[in-house]
Symmetry: C2
Subunit: 108 residues, 2 copies
């Protein structure tokens, strides 16, 4: 009998108490907002509707008790959205942990 190729997999998320707050979908969205400075462009790339993306952001902010994005209205090119320091912290912590876990799965 040949031993079949078995490999580890995982799902990572952040929670407050027992409440799910932030996972892979929100991570991808937030990363795209950082890159594209626009929620609608980010939502498109993350394959979400603008409405859903916006609702997810508001939900996360409510959980955290602080903003993760800030939008400047107007200007020459219209509104521009940036992620806040809290948003960046969430993003980088998730990314780092995911990368570490992925590495560990490779060496197992």
């Amino acid at each position: 009998m040949t031993k079949r190729k078995i490999k580890p997999a995982f799902k990572l998320w952040f929670q407050i108490g027992e409440d799910y707050v932030f996972g892979e979908g929100a991570y991808k969205l937030l990363e795209q907002i950082r890159n594209k400075k626009s929620i609608s462009a980010a939502a498109k790339t993350a394959h979400m509707s603008y409405r859903y993306a916006w609702a997810r952001i508001k939900e996360i902010e409510e959980h955290l008790g602080e903003s993760i994005v800030k939008t400047q209205k107007g200007g020459k090119q219209g509104g521009k959205t940036e992620i806040t320091e809290a948003g960046l912290l969430l993003l980088t912590n998730y990314k780092r942990l995911k990368e570490l876990m992925t590495e560990m799965c490779k060496i197992t």
Copy 2:
């Protein structure tokens, strides 16, 4: 605004291709079989029916193409079940990886 306590959480499993093979439930079951040398006693501790435990074991063995437990029938105290080398490998790899990931979550 106070920053609320946000913490990482994860779910770990082993898969072959895209098929789920082994996760937390099976890990607990297998660990108990190692301790108790009995599937029925292990199932009880892991809060599973004997029938379900047995089906899970068979399912995992089918995925792997090898046995993870072996039962010796008869003897003074009736049948005794031990985990095989393949079962032990699965158990220890899962446990080690879970512990490493748990540690990483703590330091994030």
